[in-house]
């Protein structure tokens, strides 16, 4: 996997910073001056320790029903109103608070109608952000702006995007805030996988993001499963190491049988990952014109003539960083071929309905990048390919909607891999601190988000790009 580089490289690669960072003294000084150690994020399939607060505006019901489906107990919110305030020792008014730390606030604003309704959001958020536990969660559920016929609620709904991103920036100690936009027809069953993901540690490095959950048919037991991939076959490209290996392991943990794919030269590492999770290995250069045929053939060969892939995770990617001034056609094409053209070709083959291809009701997940969303110096080729993945997701999702195939992507920020570990200390510090969580993400954070997106219970999530960047300072 490529190193996910942050455009703040501009600062970190100045000759002075570079020199200081590489020297042993500089490193020691940097440590002593005390860049504080990053908070250990809550990860995995774990709910917050403290209670989950549910605050619903007017008659909004979807969050309550979804939490009931997930069997998450909720408590009532503390609301900051002038009457509820007390006078503190200094004589200043003190807002009402919770008796102890809360684990999460789920704020259901689907009943939003007027600008004045936003006061409810403020009143609930103020006590909540003061009492939120480390790695706590704020989840705002609102109707998608375009789903309103009337002007005012649509305008306000869009305003929540700014509110969410700000809450995310103000939260501390690994707590995150995210905004989910739903349609009026979105059912609790369709929302369940998203709400569970956001409350659980699996969403550790997803912060300040907003995405859509559309209406979709999801059965109760599917919505509530912790092993959603049981009996399902998933292909992961670039599975030998780094983020790809984490994806394979995470999907296997959730029940998937994984077909791990990587270039023949990475076969040894691939075998080790695949054996660990009892999958199968396919040594394949995905840029071959018949790569899709070979994947389908492998699936049929190993899993039977009627076997089909439930999901394809297009993780394989390369970087060939050069400033445009130094970029020749080879460095340009290599990246575009692996990161983009190969993916388009494989999709075409795997989507033609053949045995061993992608099943209807399945899922495709691609990997975009902060670089693609914000642009990055020295990565013209990479950024082009990664922005194109956003385009692919948006274009393909509606085309495959009739076959109930979802198409989504993740957009990783600075993820700590073997490759990024090689970046000099100070430079690395700058990269990984330039986000609201003040730390780099782990490969598993990207993997968890992919597993959520491709989850059968996430049938209502399609055409979305979810960034896994700790709310990086750059991009959206």
């Amino acid at each position: 996997m490529p190193a996910k580089r942050d455009p703040l490289e501009v600062i970190a690669t100045t000759p002075l910073v570079r020199a200081v960072a590489s020297s042993p003294i500089g490193r020691s000084v940097a440590t002593k001056l005390g860049v504080p150690p990053a908070v250990e994020l809550r990860r995995g399939r774990t709910l917050p320790k403290g209670p989950v607060v549910l605050a619903a505006l007017h008659d909004a019901m979807i969050a309550a029903r979804t939490l009931a489906l997930l069997r998450v107990d909720v408590i009532r919110p503390v609301v900051d109103t002038p009457d509820a305030r007390t006078v503190g020792e200094s004589g200043r008014p003190v807002p009402p608070g919770y008796d102890s730390r809360i684990g999460a606030l789920v704020l259901d604003l689907t009943g939003l109608r007027t600008v004045d309704d936003l006061e409810f959001a403020r009143g609930v958020l103020r006590p909540a952000v003061r009492s939120l536990e480390p790695s706590g969660r704020i989840v705002i559920v609102a109707r998608a702006p375009e789903s309103y016929d009337e002007l005012e609620p649509g305008v306000i709904a869009q305003g929540l995007d700014g509110l969410n991103r700000t809450v995310a920036k103000e939260l501390r100690a690994g707590a995150t805030s995210n905004l989910i936009w739903v349609e009026p027809e979105t059912s609790p069953q369709a929302l369940a996988s998203t709400l569970r993901f956001l409350l659980e540690g699996r969403s550790a490095y997803v912060d300040g993001q907003s995405w859509r959950v559309a209406a979709a048919e999801v059965a109760d037991d599917v919505a509530d499963s912790t092993r959603p991939y049981d009996g399902r076959l998933v292909a992961v490209t670039g599975a030998a190491r780094g983020i790809g290996a984490a994806i394979a392991r995470t999907l296997a943990r959730d029940g998937a049988t994984v077909v791990g794919i990587d270039v023949p030269a990475s076969g040894e590492a691939l075998a080790s990952v695949v054996n660990e999770i009892h999958g199968t290995a396919l040594q394949l250069d995905i840029t071959l014109p018949d790569a899709g045929d070979r994947i389908a053939a492998h699936v049929v060969d190993r899993y039977g003539p009627d076997a089909r892939l439930y999901a394809v995770i297009h993780n394989a990617g390369i970087i060939r960083d050069r400033m445009l001034a130094n970029l020749d056609e080879k460095g340009w094409a290599a990246v575009l071929q692996v990161n983009l053209a190969a993916q388009l070709r494989m999709n075409e083959a795997l989507l033609d309905g053949r045995p061993g291809g992608l099943a209807d009701g399945g899922s495709i997940v691609g990997i975009s990048s902060t670089s693609g969303i914000a642009g990055n110096k020295g990565q013209a080729n990479y950024a082009t390919s990664k922005a194109a993945i956003v385009g692919l997701v948006r274009a393909l999702a509606p085309r495959l909607a009739a076959r109930r195939i979802t198409v989504n992507a993740v957009g990783p920020g600075f993820i700590q891999t073997e490759m990024t570990a090689a970046i000099p200390y100070l430079q690395r510090q700058v990269f990984q601190r330039s986000n609201s969580l003040s730390q780099g993400g782990k490969p598993v954070d990207v993997a968890e988000t992919i597993a959520y997106l491709a989850d059968p219970a996430s049938a209502g999530v399609t055409g979305q790009v979810v960034r896994v960047c700790g709310q990086a300072l750059v991009g959206q």
Binding site: E268, A271, V274, T280, R302
Partner: protein, 430 residues
């Protein structure tokens, strides 16, 4: 008893590396384990209890008495998988495949893995008999004086370590020296040997570039390709090499047309045909039959490396086939001259009548069907690993051919071995 058919499901090996190079710190157990793990990953065998794993090594440490079982325990296979060590010099890998396929055909196992590993880099070295006898006597002695007396028997010459023999114990000749005698006897020319070596390199290089080995080889310790293959070699370059075996006119065998020293491991996955259908495993080729023969090279003065010429006619007769009935021939290239002498012998009226007791010569074969994706001269020859390499390669080639003239494509493997032995097997495409 129901009928059982043994088929080759697939294979895996690590790239063969020049000795004292990339694998110099890897033991036979390490390499065999890596080969098993690559196979497990390819066919989803992690945690699976295989019927039996059978393999061996020619150069084997005494501590590796359970080499194959140790490799199984170190691999991702279910530790309940039994294993057995088997050794037949360079035919080890093929003999292991014959053993496993026989068990499958008897219904004793549903699947099995056959293979072998060899390291010239990690060769065991023994102490001399003098030192060994003295040490054993000293350890058996009950008193200190008796112990000292036993140790006093050690002579300076006893301290020289005893490397493993690469010579035939009964003749004192090396394999190359034996082949040189055969080469001279059969008048195999330098030009023919070099031409065969060139074809081996060109064919193997082409197979690699076509991705033929993508599902037969798993990289190991950073080596991603066979190190012996020289895509750029030419007849001129081969002709320029100095002979290393034979004397005078008969000195035609060079480092270019003889196999060098290599480290490596290879395994083949075999299973009952019904079992492959149940478990959704591919079936590349059916193991039809096999035969092992030996020659009297000591008193009888027969050619040490031509034992396959005895095995082949017996195998053909039992299966009602002629020497020309094959679409692919895989004859192990111990030396280019071994292959050529084997073909010459089987085409020789006198040899076939007098030595083999046949009614006449078996005749010539179509040489374009021989070692079509290269063999040991290019791939290298880590002794016990060669059988696994050839069986998997041939099975895949046959599967690719599918049917020829309305019948399954048919191939034959022939491997000569030290001790004047030779193993031969017939495979048919599935």
């Amino acid at each position: 008893m129901t009928d059982h058919t043994a088929v080759v499901v697939g294979g895996n090996r690590i790239p063969f590396a020049r000795s004292h190079g990339a694998y110099s710190r890897a033991s036979n157990v390490d390499m065999l384990t890596a080969a098993l793990d690559g196979l497990a990953a390819r066919f989803g065998l992690a945690g699976h209890r295989v019927g039996e794993v059978v393999g061996g090594a020619v150069l084997k440490h005494s501590r590796d008495f359970n080499l194959t079982r140790e490799a199984v325990l170190g691999s991702s296979l279910d530790p309940h998988t039994p294993a057995c060590d088997l050794q037949q010099a360079c035919a080890t890998g093929l003999e292991a495949a014959i053993y496993v396929s026989n068990k499958i055909r008897l219904g004793q196992v549903a699947d099995g893995i056959a293979g072998g590993a060899d390291s010239v880099s990690d060769t065991p070295m023994a102490v001399s008999d003098g030192l060994r006898h003295a040490l054993l006597a000293a350890s058996a002695a009950k008193t200190l004086p008796a112990r000292l007396a036993a140790l006093a028997a050690i002579r300076p010459g006893d301290l020289v370590p005893d490397p493993p023999g690469i010579t035939e114990p009964r003749t004192g000749l090396s394999m190359g020296e034996h082949q040189a005698l055969t080469t001279t006897r059969w008048g195999v020319t330098r030009a023919d040997q070099d031409e065969l070596a060139l074809a081996s390199h060109q064919n193997l290089a082409r197979a690699w570039s076509e991705g033929f080995f993508d599902d037969l080889v798993t990289p190991y310790l950073g080596v991603t390709k066979d190190q012996g293959v020289r895509a750029d070699t030419t007849l001129e370059k081969l002709a320029a090499l100095r002979p290393v075996f034979g004397r005078g006119e008969g000195a035609t065998m060079t480092a270019g047309n003889s196999t060098g020293f290599f480290d490596g491991a290879a395994v083949t996955y075999l299973a009952d045909a019904d079992y492959t259908a149940e478990r959704h495993l591919p079936a590349l080729a059916r193991v039809v039959d096999a035969e092992v023969a030996a020659v009297d090279y000591t008193i009888g003065g027969e050619d040490l490396l031509l034992a396959p010429t005895y095995a082949i006619p017996r195998l053909l007769e039992r299966n009602g086939l002629t020497w020309q009935d094959f679409d692919l021939y895989e004859i192990h290239e111990a030396f280019a001259a071994t292959v050529l002498a084997t073909l010459d012998a089987l085409a020789d009226e006198t040899y076939c009548r007098e030595r083999l007791g046949l009614g006449g010569a078996l005749g010539e074969i179509d040489r374009t069907k021989l070692n079509v994706n290269g063999s040991s001269l290019a791939a290298g020859h880590p002794f016990a690993a060669t059988g696994g390499r050839i069986v998997a390669t041939l099975a895949k080639l046959l599967h690719q051919r599918g049917t020829v003239d309305g019948r399954p494509a048919r191939g034959i493997v022939s491997i000569c071995a030290a001790g004047g032995q030779g193993a031969v097997a017939i495979l048919e495409a599935c």
